[in-house]
Amino acid sequence: MKHWLRRQRYLADFTLAALARRRVKNTGLIVIYSIIVFVLASAMMFSAALRHEAGTVLAKSPELIVQQLVMGRHEMIPGSEIEKLAGIRGVAAVKGRLWGYFYDSVNGANYTFMVPDDDSYDLQPGEAILGEGIGKARDFTWDTAPLFVTSLAGKMVKFTVRETFADDSALLTADLVLISEADFRSFFDLPPDVYTDIGVSIRNEREIGTIVQKAQLVMPNARFVTRSDIERTYQRLFDWREGLMTALAAAGVLAFAIFAAEKASGLSAEEAREIGILKAIGWDTGDVIAMKLWEGGLISFGAFLAGTVFAYIHVFSFQAGLFEPILKGWAVIYPDFALAPYIDGLQLATLFAITVIPYTAATLVPIWRAATADPDQVMR
């Protein structure tokens, strides 16, 4: 065992000395490799952290939301339906929800107008609570600047801003305008007894399935969205975005693997001669393979570690600043948020698998080919 370890160290020593001779080229190789790992790791960490964030935060969203569908399209739901749902056993509370979109032609942003579920906000007519993104989009110069908006009917409405949500909650509230029910109805010209949808809270979470089945009988036209549906959708959404990113980056990994294979198989005459010399003076094919595996291992493992560490710093200390343009899209209101640092074994193992394994696989055959040089070639 001791001999084995020492032997490995000699092999690593030799391969590093050989790498050091082509310092610029090999440093470049490691840097490019690290950058690929960095891009992939950033994308993975960012979306894993988003998944984590969404999963934790949205766990408190309403247990069940009931939407009215007309011809497959979301319609306002009449208040009379509330009674029907409240009658189902196991339902704790039913509340009509009011929320909708408002396109602000001043700056091209979309706001979400909403009446908070909880009465404790106690919003008075003419009062609003804003998300942090709205003030930015409107270039508010002072904290308590009022919000003027023009409703679709052409009325100019003024809301005094009671409060602005803190940056901490930007991911949830950036585009929110919370107003009172009376303001909401008059602003959007809604009749008194309709709602956007209905939120149902349920006493025992295990009964959600049965309650939905019962409700379906009562309201055959409705669409039911449960809390776990929402969670699943978010997991899936970020998986999908991450997967897309990975598939794109995979092209980079592939190109790099081809490059690595090319580099490993296109041994320069000098390298080939060196391997011949080593074999002539008593190195076995296995020794040469091990030596070359050390080269690949040190390069790929080093790049993996460096890329991962820098990605962590990038995502959690700099809010993934380099990818912001891609992640931001063209949203006018984009939440300015910091994610909870989150890293786990699955991420690391996956990252390792998609960066180190293709590189290793691509170099194995060229390595072996180099290692089988005839030992007597140095005599010819």
Partner: protein
């Protein structure tokens, strides 16, 4: 469902392993037809050198499959939120008929590749490479296994249907389904029975191992006992040991113990068990060849070393089990 990074990684590993094994299979066919160590011809020399490549590739496949096994279980666990009724990895694997077969195939590949490497190392100590034909005949058996595992994995992932919100007005997935399959089968074994079985087979393995070490016989029996012990131990992990870890009498999942919530305790449990089983099987595999002339000098010692390592690993496993039961707050028996 394929556009998920861990799934892409798993499919990548399968694809690479399959390509590697297809080549190895083709080479094995040529070798079986033309291997002649006495010949000094160029073709023979090149074939000899290619065996080095096959060994390297097998090492690669073994490590990649080990990683893939981990990833597969991790990923199943993570995806559980996407399926109604799936609480953890077991639910995800039960999503369609191919989940568990893929897992078993991955386990099998890991063991078979390890066995092959053990055989390979033994072969390389004999100056006439006496086991080369056996080795490459085995390769021909391993190739279909790897291909089948890859196909099964692909089928599994292609047929995964996540229960995500759709726009239609149905909520059919909200129905709660029971975890079926492995979990319920193996956990249905009464905890006391499982513990007794584990203790009995552990004692048997220790006894046969001791006999094999001291009187140099019964090694094949030891390998068989090791394999039986592996199955019994897995059953016991599902039936009693994981409830002790979770401190919850009805939580039987053999995968959740690998999670950070339980301090990655599963690794302490599984690693010695897998090592012990691999060494035991390896000893049994080498046993028939101990009289081969060029190996007679080294092989018996190598076999005994494997038996000793296997026993040591099983002892570690046993100690971990005892420690788990001792420190657990859960009381299953009177």
């Amino acid at each position: 469902m394929i556009f998920q990074t861990p799934i892409l990684a798993l499919l990548l590993i399968s694809a690479l392993s399959s390509v590697v094994m297809l080549w190895a299979g083709w080479f094995a066919l040529r070798l079986l037809l033309r291997w002649d160590l006495a010949s000094g011809s160029r073709a023979q020399l090149e074939m000899e050198r290619a065996t080095d490549l096959v060994s390297t590739l097998f090492g690669f496949v073994m490590l990649a499959q080990l990683l893939s096994l981990l990833l597969y279980v991790f990923n199943a666990d993570r995806m559980a939120t996407l399926f109604v009724g799936a609480m953890c990895a077991v639910g995800t694997l039960n999503n369609n008929d191919w989940g568990f077969p893929t897992l078993y195939a991955k386990l099998a590949i890991f063991f078979v590749a390890t066995m092959w490497l053990i055989l390979d190392r033994a072969d390389r100590t004999g100056h006439d490479y006496p086991l080369t034909r056996v080795k490459f005949a085995l390769v021909l058996l391993i190739v279909p296994l790897v291909l089948a595992a890859g196909a099964s994995e692909l089928t599994y992932f292609l047929n995964l249907q996540a229960d995500v919100i759709t726009s239609c007005c149905s909520t059919e997935f909200t129905a709660d389904t029971e975890d079926a399959g492995l979990g319920s089968d193996m956990s249905s074994l009464a905890p006391a029975t499982a513990l007794w079985l584990l203790a009995a087979s552990g004692a048997a393995v220790a006894l046969i191992g001791a006999v094999s070490l001291i009187w140099k016989r019964g090694t094949m029996l030891f390998a068989a006992a090791g394999a039986v012990f592996f199955v019994v131990a897995l059953t016991a992990i599902i039936s009693v040991i994981s409830p002790y870890v979770y401190e919850h009498p009805t939580h039987h999942c053999p995968f959740c113990i690998l999670k950070p919530e339980y301090n990655y305790f599963g690794y302490v449990l599984y690693v010695p068990l897998f090592l012990g089983t691999a060494f035991a099987l390896g000893a049994g595999l080498l046993q028939p060849f101990r009289k081969v002339e060029s190996l007679a000098a080294t092989l018996p010692a190598r076999i005994r070393k494997q038996v000793a390592l296997s026993l040591a690993s099983f002892v570690v496993f046993g100690l971990v089990v005892l420690w788990t039961i001792w420190q657990s707050q859960l009381i299953l028996f009177g």
